[in-house]
């Protein structure tokens, strides 16, 4: 991966971190935590009348990777069906686990900025945090509908 790419990715990550579009105080949703640093995040997902995701928001504290990743996630999920959303989240987590190729992140909008992080076994836990939180919510919504 070249330096130019790296800094493009960094730019995306920094932007979502410094100017998150989907961060707002939430409550009554449990936090998901990263035991190794104490970072925590929770995600709320609400469906529209068409059964598609109308709004995704997050809340929490953490490093630039975990917070920007949450913002990217929120942006990505809006407008998707539950099935599409789950597939995307599974794909992202599978890439981080090394089970699928990093190139597949290209399918996930700004999430492609985490290609570099996917090679870092410690930091990928930061990146995964909000996606794990989203998965819990998506499963819950699927159960309810």
């Amino acid at each position: 991966m070249s330096d130019t790419f790296d800094s493009l990715y960094e730019e995306i990550i920094r932007d979502h971190y410094k100017n998150p579009q989907h961060k707002r105080p939430l409550d009554s949703i449990p936090f998901v935590q990263n035991p190794s640093c104490g970072d925590k995040v929770r995600v709320s997902i609400s469906l529209g009348p068409d059964g598609k995701i109308a709004e995704t928001a997050f809340d929490g504290s953490g490093c630039s990777i975990s917070m920007s990743s949450a913002d990217v996630l929120a942006e990505l999920l809006e407008g998707k069906t539950l099935a599409e959303a789950k597939e995307m989240v599974h794909l992202f987590l599978a890439v981080l686990r090394g089970e699928r190729d990093v190139a597949e992140l290209d399918k996930l909008g700004d999430a492609m900025a985490f290609k570099g992080v996917a090679r870092l076994p410690v930091r990928l836990k930061c990146a995964a945090l909000s996606w794990r939180a989203a998965l819990e919510q998506l499963e819950k919504l699927t159960g309810e509908t």
Binding site: Q33, P35, S36, R119, L120, P121, V122
Partner: protein, 425 residues
């Protein structure tokens, strides 16, 4: 002997004659720095510990010289590299035995793996529950259960062995009862060399809903194991007996079991959250890995697994069995010699490359000391299996155990020296 084989063949093969495989072994011996140092050493104490090939030593050193950091929490590159190598090693071992990485817990060795279970699995048992072992267990798979029995009022039962050193499977049917909670047994006896019919035991046990722990310390260097097809619930082995470093081993456990049983040791990495009042355990396998793990040794055992796979793992085991058989043939008529365990043509399984023997009127220590003068390293004693020694009526025996670098010539030489010992001692 085929001179060509000496040059071209680098893996053992069932298609080879024993002479050809022996020339593979000669080739392999060159990969061992210890034999550079002692070219005439006939090292046949592999059941105690094996020598380590250069690639394993290099892998371990490489971690120290290129990626030395503590794992799991270091954000910096060096730490990511160390964590990556450590987790890669887990994946390599998982692949080696057909498991998922999260089912593989790094331990110091077989002994720690079994103690972990005796505590963690043990905490799920109640007074009056029963555990079935065999009469041929190594102390590592006996004493932890005796300690558990004392702590929690568990009852231990033992599958008896026949005079030939084979498991009496008939008796197992009687032993299995309503309170049986676990069968814990060795796959290969470190004294008798018997390869136990663990497949049959596992089938029987699972029919009765009982989990099985296999002590694979002696099996792992001698045969490829696949936990999906073999289907044990737990499996334990040590790195240092499979050409890997000291201080590392593995406990495999089926996911559902590892998730169910409580953690063993407490400390860093095994927790998810800690308050002064209590803690929440981490997910598997980390829940069982408290404290800084043996990072370099993990990289070493992974390299050993790759090394074993690369040289024809199954064929190597067969070759070692063949050497054992040849040795037995050459020494069985020495007056007063007794070979422990099953004799040629025994019904159950096969004998691993292990031959324990006694020589009437000669103490095993003296025999070992005598052979040592001729550069042959055999172990003498009860081989950490007191009850078995008692069952067989021997105080101590001398044990020859083969590894990947032992040759046919060495077998002849050992046999000659045993004949000589008979005359001189």
């Amino acid at each position: 002997m085929n001179a060509l084989a000496d040059i071209n063949q680098k893996t053992f093969s069932l298609d080879f004659s024993v002479e050809e495989n022996s020339s593979v072994a000669r080739f392999i011996k060159k990969q061992y720095p210890l034999f550079d140092q002692y070219p005439h050493l006939v090292y046949v104490d592999n059941a105690a510990t094996s020598q380590k090939p250069r690639s394993v030593l290099d892998a371990e050193q490489g971690l120290y010289t290129r990626a030395c950091a503590n794992v799991h929490r270091a954000i910096y590159n060096l730490g990511e590299a160390a964590t990556g190598l450590y987790e890669e090693s887990r994946k390599t071992l998982a692949h080696f035995i057909g498991a998922a990485p999260e089912e593989c817990v790094f331990t110091r060795g077989t002994t720690e793996a079994i103690n972990l279970l005796a505590h963690s699995f043990g905490e799920t048992l109640s007074a009056g529950d029963e555990i079935i072992l065999t009469e041929m267990e190594h102390h590592a798979n006996l004493v932890p259960w005796q300690q558990l029995a004392l702590r929690r009022g568990i009852k231990l039962k033992f599958i008896p062995i026949t005079d030939e050193g084979l498991l009496n499977l008939e008796a197992l049917h009687q032993l299995i009862g309503k309170r049986t909670r676990l069968i814990a047994m060795t796959m290969v006896s470190n004294v008798l060399g018997t390869r136990n019919p663990v497949e049959t035991v596992i089938t029987l046990a699972h029919e009765a809903g009982i989990p099985v722990l296999l002590d694979a310390a002696q099996a792992i260097p001698a045969e490829p194991l696949n936990v999906r097809s073999l289907d044990p619930d737990f499996l334990a082995f040590s790195g240092h007996k499979m050409y890997g470093p000291f201080g590392i081993g593995l406990l495999y456990g089926k996911r559902k079991w590892l998730e169910m049983i409580p953690p063993f040791m407490g400390g860093g990495d095994m927790i998810s959250e800690v308050r002064l009042e209590g803690f929440t355990p981490n997910e598997i396998p980390y829940k069982f890995e408290a404290g800084t793990p043996p990072v370099a040794q993990a990289v070493g055992i992974a390299e050993a697994a790759r090394w074993l796979e690369g040289l024809g793992h199954e064929d190597l085991g067969r070759y070692e069995s063949e050497l054992a058989q040849l040795l037995i043939n050459e020494i069985k008529d020495i007056p007063g010699i007794r070979i422990l365990g099953s004799q040629p043509g025994a019904p159950q399984g096969r004998r691993a490359g292990i031959v324990a023997l006694t020589m009437e009127g000669v103490h095993a220590h003296d025999l070992a000391a005598y052979l040592d003068r001729y550069g042959i390293t055999v172990r003498a004693g009860h081989h950490c299996a007191h009850p078995l020694a008692q069952r067989l009526g021997v105080v101590s025996s001398a044990r020859v155990s083969f590894g990947a670098y032992n040759t046919l010539e060495e077998v002849h030489y050992i046999a000659d020296m045993l004949h000589k010992a008979r005359k001189e001692l």
